[in-house]
């Protein structure tokens, strides 16, 4: 990370496949990863569905991108947070997710948001 690194957060709020926002969001995240900034990802609301295991878009004819979340570590993006209630509301647990995440409460996520230089919704 650069010495003057800034905190940039990506809030993934939308589910995958129904729209392109999370997919193109992830492309932006990967580019940002090359800039040695202090990057974090937060998955909340239907955004948590991005991380669900065993997604298969082959019958839709849409390129699957969800496995790309596994490459984030290689870009030194290790701060991956998931909102506790959003998981629970959807009947999911950490075991259902394709990457290791830190589960946070809404007030904890608010504190993280308050530390950021910029926040991007996808």
């Amino acid at each position: 990370m650069a010495e003057d690194a800034k905190k940039i957060m990506f809030v993934m709020q939308k589910p995958p496949h129904g729209s392109i926002y999370p997919y193109e969001g992830l492309e932006f995240i990967l580019i940002s990863g090359a800039y040695e900034q202090d990057i974090s990802l937060v998955f909340l609301g239907d955004g948590v569905y991005n991380l669900k295991k065993d997604q298969d878009t082959s019958e839709l004819g849409i390129k699957g991108f969800v496995k790309t979340y596994r490459t984030l570590e290689g870009y030194d993006i290790e701060n991956i947070y998931v909102d506790q209630n959003s998981l629970k509301d959807r009947g999911l647990t950490q075991e259902d997710l394709i990457v290791d995440v830190k589960v946070k409460t809404a007030p904890e996520i608010n504190s993280l948001m308050n530390e950021q230089h910029a926040i991007f919704p996808f």
Binding site: K6, I20, Y21, E24, F28, I31, Y35, H117, A118
Partner: protein, 118 residues
């Protein structure tokens, strides 16, 4: 203060481009600086020079071009643009196509980033 603007949705279909434009005009009038306006997702469709709305409606691309003529950096994401058929040949004046790295630069140079979208 320096504002960076990200636009995620297309013209006319959604109010995002109008809200962003009105915000930018008000910010400039108050003496703020716009570090850049970046079109991403369907937002790239804001940049086609072939927009030709009915004459009693606003011409969205013309408004962006006029802001660009005033020296505001207006950038279209190349990856998102290629997906949607926006290329140099149909790009409106004073708007440029570049990579997502420009959005990172714009973010780092701005005091505030604000996103308009669907």
């Amino acid at each position: 203060m320096k504002f960076g603007i990200l636009i995620q949705d297309g013209p006319y279909n959604h109010e995002a481009g109008d809200s962003a434009y009105n915000f930018v005009v008000a910010a400039l009038a108050k003496g703020h600086e716009i570090t850049g306006i970046f079109f991403y997702n369907d937002g790239v469709l804001n940049a086609t020079r072939f927009m030709d709305p009915p004459t009693d409606d606003r011409n969205i691309v013309k408004r962006w071009s006029e802001l660009g003529a005033k020296g505001i950096d207006i950038i279209v994401c190349i990856a998102a643009a290629k997906r949607r058929g926006i290329i140099d040949a149909n790009l409106a004046p004073n708007i440029r196509i570049s990579g997502l790295g420009q959005l990172v630069d714009l973010t780092l140079n701005a005091d505030r980033m604000i996103t308009f979208g669907g």
